[in-house]
Amino acid sequence: MAVQDLSVFVRHRDDGIASMELAVDGIRCAGCMQAIEGGLAREPAILGARVNLALKRVSVEWREALLRPEAVVEKLAALGFKAYPFVPERQEEGAASEERYLLRALGVAGFASMNIMLLSVAVWSGNSGDIDPATRDFFHWLSALIALPTAAYAGRPFFESALRALKVGAVNMDVPITIGVVLALVMSVAETWSHGRHAYFDGVVMLLFFLLIGRYLDQLMRRRTRDLAGNLAALKAETATRLAADGSATVMPIAAIAPGDLVLVRPGERVSVDGIVETGRSELDQSLVTGETAPVEIGQGERVHAGTLNLTGALTVRVAAAGQGTLLDEIDRLMDQAVGSRSRYVRLSDRAARLYAPVVHTLAASTFLGWLAFGLAWPEALMIAVTVLIITCPCALGLAIPAVQVVAASALFKRKIMLKEGDALERLAEADIAVFDKTGTLTLPEPEILNPEALPAERRAEIGALAAASGHPLAQALARALGVTRAAEDVHEERGQGLSVGNGNDERRLGSVAFCGAQAEAAMVAALHPGASLIAYRHGSFRAVLALGQALRPQARETIAALREAGLEVAILSGDRFEAVAPIAAELGVTELHAALMPGDKLALLERMAADGRKVLMVGDGLNDAPALAGAHVSLSPVSATHLAQAAADIVFLGESLAPVAAALTIARKARRLMLQNLWFAVLYNAVAVPIAIAGLATPLVAAVAMSGSSLVVTLNALRACAGEAAAEVRP
């Protein structure tokens, strides 16, 4: 085995201390946390290890001179944890500082609203009693002293967003918020100046506080998505064997491989880079990339893609920068075209905002004019109009959707489903047709033995050893399926026929059906598994025929049934031949299938469905699916998918089972229902509160109660997205 080299992941400090971030598989509880931290602390060279349980990461610091980074990974493996180092992304630091700023603003607004409320309660109770006007003015001035700097600091996200929107001639939710906040502050100062009874400093700051909560949740959701995507990339732990100029081989993480490097790909390995074959001939299984299951011959000067499986011969590959190959070029072009169509989707919150802003502006303006016409002085009329703006505040609206999203995303995370886009939930809930890719999505990515009952357990090892001795793609697949890597010795291979070992009665043969004389058994197996490749084995009088093919993912049938029950139609779109797709479709009871599709055909089919008004849920994993995944209304991909497909998907699920597809749909529908409930609640709230405000009866006390009450109701309702989930898990 070549030497591992992880130095690309290590960060160095001046004082000889190195540190590394690792994503760790299988941290579940406090016990794991303690085992890792305690176990690493026993190593004298390691200065510190800290587990982040929420992110399933460990950061380790050690004295550089005493330890190699590989030793840290080994140490964790000895403790029973597989760890995958990764480089924390730098370009995301802008987003991280934005999040910290929101949290600080939230803290300031929280502090200010509590202190102003302290003063306001005194004024409210004094107003109904006999407060000394001088005291009331003093309290109002103090409130202003707190509220004005707070609004200037904590209101910035809204002011800036509103300005951005106005500059391009659009109106968003932040425009009425900004107008409301600024007018309310100005009017309150004027009111205090003229020794008035009511000032709305408390309302303004509370409004900012609630809105910031919604804004922060939204940001949190995006951060979590990004972190999980980082973990996913690390968990794949892709490596390549780099050949140095002197011929020595080193296993490097993909992150350390640069274009122009020479990489060795052994038979049976998955190619992890895009490049051109420098030397060697081989057959490639390109099923993950194109969907086609039949192997393809490849030789010098030809292009290989990451994700393909090298079957027969060793290849050296010159790494090329991505995006120059014919297939990738084509896919790239299609991706650009596809992403455009998804961006047409308008989020629920934006749709609500589009309705909301004009309605509120008209209401406030007509209130002002109405009261003027009624004969009220303009400052008082303006004050009432401002209370309309404040009380219709989209607190509930701003919280209604982010809160549900955060709760639903954590429910999905518990089921090992990772949400990459916040609005994917809304889109998933709307889906009315589920389109599956076949290879690697409905089926497992590696070929499996379809009739394991034909193989007695005691013969597994010998058949595996025999199979491992051959370079034939089918034999290689069999050896992998049996988990055997050590080849048998003294094996005699007859090309095109099979392998034999031993002589006379003790002769054992593995190969074609005719080679082993197993026609009778083969006929039976072929009837049960049409479309599978057959491989026979003979030892004395014992004969077995194994069917090798793509096994369905666990729970594929149940998932398809569940999707149907949820009212979705199901279709299969595959790049593979019709004969290979038909048996799978028949087994799952899917009647709508399209085979032998090029990437562009898939996208065109999806676009035709979209033009018919269908909302397509696409599940796929191959490079050839990437444009379709990007173009679908919503898309899922398994974690075994190629990079580009995973990047294009909205949701990525872990594990072999297909069940997360149905689970994600259930949770998404529930989340959407809760979002709509929350929005309707906001409408109801406004229907009650707005007439009060228009009538001029919304005192600061009424405004405070109404705003905090509605926000609380919406948040509690959002938490139900998680509560139902817990109940569902208890039921078997």
Binding site: M33, N52, A54, L103, R104, F111, N115
Partner: protein
């Protein structure tokens, strides 16, 4: 009235102290791992460290 002159700065000061503590927590990364912190409370190996590790 006089009591307000004392009480009000006191209340504001307490609030500011809380805000300062919040900022300090943020800067020292205490919100980075909320799940882990919930469990760390239950670990007691920081109490009498040397004797514990001998027992274990």
């Amino acid at each position: 009235m006089n009591i307000i002159v004392i009480l009000f700065p006191l209340a504001l000061g307490l609030g500011l102290a809380g805000l300062g503590a919040f900022f300090w927590c943020m800067r020292s990364g205490q919100y980075a791992d909320l799940d882990g912190a919930a469990w760390r409370v239950l670990q007691d190996e920081d109490v009498g460290k040397p004797s514990r590790s001998e027992e274990g």
